[in-house]
Symmetry: C2
Subunit: 323 residues, 2 copies
């Protein structure tokens, strides 16, 4: 890996990856439109001589061409990641995920970029019947527009890998936690408890079983798979997660302990927090583990680190003022 | 079923379906832009008092709204069906299949249309490892842009079925043959043999094993599944095909016998006719059979009927002059 473009490189995972790749000696081009990415997350990277920022939308003409010039890898992390509110704006997943990924693949062909890592999601399994869920689980039915759009991206990448000589590494993430975490249930809980430490509302029955992965473990897994398949051709799918799960109510308990509060908890009820929420996510991670990778942090440790970081970075979860 | 819109209703399957639904007493709205659809295929339907034609592109504003008004069913058959040349124009599958299907689903919500049948494809299984391939085969890798785009459509339909109260019937077709057949290997062979009955070139090694279904059997299967799930909610996936397969060279033999010629056959070689061609397609059709459906014609009979029809309808396979 010589020069890598990270789409969505000012985001949570992208900016951590940028720092890591710079430390590893790679030239890094971050492409971000700062719709949800944060300039503060690139503060260190921006000081680095091997860093370049391309500010723009992947859907705008010329932006990808600029960003991908001379790259041998793309880490395509840019996405609409709002799985919960997909039904309120059904076009967003299509545009920001499916169409955007198609544009990235076309730009790769134009620029001769040979390798792509794609941030997919365990949501592509819908409501699986096999646990832990392996990469070759029974062909699932999609239950969310987010999952459907990520599956569409996976299909595009695999078809391009078959038809053109590119290598695709498709990583199906569980939810990621850690420094620079900006959205998801931990931040929702922290924001609510900071606002009112005495009471909190939990979507669903609180018994949804979820899996999480610490961001540095996630990045290590991505880079392990990328190194294994560089230049090999074809599409390679990996589940990324821990072998643990945590119940939403347990997760809330870890957060309230960390914050030192003991709210009364109200549940909205139902097995799903929202339409398309999966009541149980537990991925089989034996494939990525077979490459020698293992997570360093437990889910409880990752939640702890995330809460600590949020407490010291209120700007992330407080209403954002655009500069 | 009271009023049904058929997108791509002037096409091969669509126009046959229109005739069938009119005969069954349904009001039929055909939506077609006549890019590949044929006016001649609607000659009988157009005479019918329960028939309405909406001429336009599903991607153009207002067209779907017009076509879907008052419908309780959409048969979404419109698509770019050129699986073989997908790599030459990668945007076409995205626009004509994925984005178009998203527009259809949005228009259904707007118009309150509760049910959709979608023409998917066995190509979504990529190169499967399980034969015959059931609907819940191991999560496949896509090998063609066509298959990837159809999978993206399936995902959208299933996500809409989860999030909004619509019912999706997803039919994964093998190749369809019969009256009004307008593209695929049978027409390619007939065209070539009419041009030169003494020699023919076959893409690949001629050993690719394919499955075909007669168009009236296909329509019967679609309507059987539609009747079963009307108003039920959720997404329901069915393989549609016969339990037979045919080798490409055998298929050529049936065609040359019918045409009374005996050409020398040259194979371009390789297990695949083109990048993304599947060397073996055999779908498990036990699920649709469990609804009481069975095909009436064998593959050989379907090929025979198709060749006969092509011989009497030269306008279909000769270079088309646009009116």
């Amino acid at each position: 890996m010589r020069r890598a473009c990270i789409t969505g490189g000012a985001g949570f995972i992208g900016s951590n990856l940028a720092d890591r790749l710079l430390a590893d000696g790679v030239e890094v081009v971050v492409l971000d439109d700062f719709r949800t990415g944060r300039r503060a997350f690139l503060r260190d990277a921006a000081e680095h001589p091997r860093f370049r920022l391309v500010e723009g939308d992947v859907l705008s003409p010329g932006v990808l061409e600029d960003a991908l010039a001379g790259c041998d890898w793309v880490f395509h992390l840019q996405a609409n990641a709002d799985v919960r509110h997909g039904l309120e704006h059904p076009q967003l997943d299509l545009e920001q995920n499916t169409i955007a990924t198609s544009k990235v693949l076309e730009a790769m062909r134009e620029a001769g970029v040979a390798n792509i890592v794609f941030s997919s999601t365990g949501s592509v399994y819908g409501e699986p019947e096999v646990f832990p869920t392996p990469e070759d689980a029974p062909f699932p039915l999609q239950t969310s527009l987010y999952g459907a759009s990520k599956l569409a991206c996976e299909g595009l990448i695999a078809a391009y890998a078959t038809g053109f000589s590119i290598t695709g590494v498709i990583c199906r993430f569980v939810s990621i936690l850690g420094e620079r975490y900006t959205h998801g249930h931990v931040i929702d809980f922290v924001r609510s408890l900071k606002d009112d430490p005495k009471a909190i509302t939990v979507l669903g029955d609180g018994k949804q079983e979820k899996s999480y992965l610490y961001v540095q473990d996630c990045i290590e897994a991505i880079l392990t798979a990328a190194a294994r398949h560089e230049g090999e051709g074809g599409a390679h799918v990996y589940n990324l997660g821990t072998d643990e799960t945590v119940i939403v109510d347990e997760s809330l308990g870890l957060i309230t302990d960390r914050l030192g509060c003991s709210p009364t908890v109200r549940h909205t009820g139902g097995a799903r927090g929202w339409a398309g929420d999966s009541p149980l996510i537990r991925l089989d991670t034996s494939k990525i583990r077979s490459l020698g990778w293992a997570p360093r942090l437990t889910i409880a440790e990752a939640i702890g680190k995330t809460v600590d970081w949020l407490e010291h970075n209120e700007h992330v979860w407080q209403p954002q003022v655009r500069a």
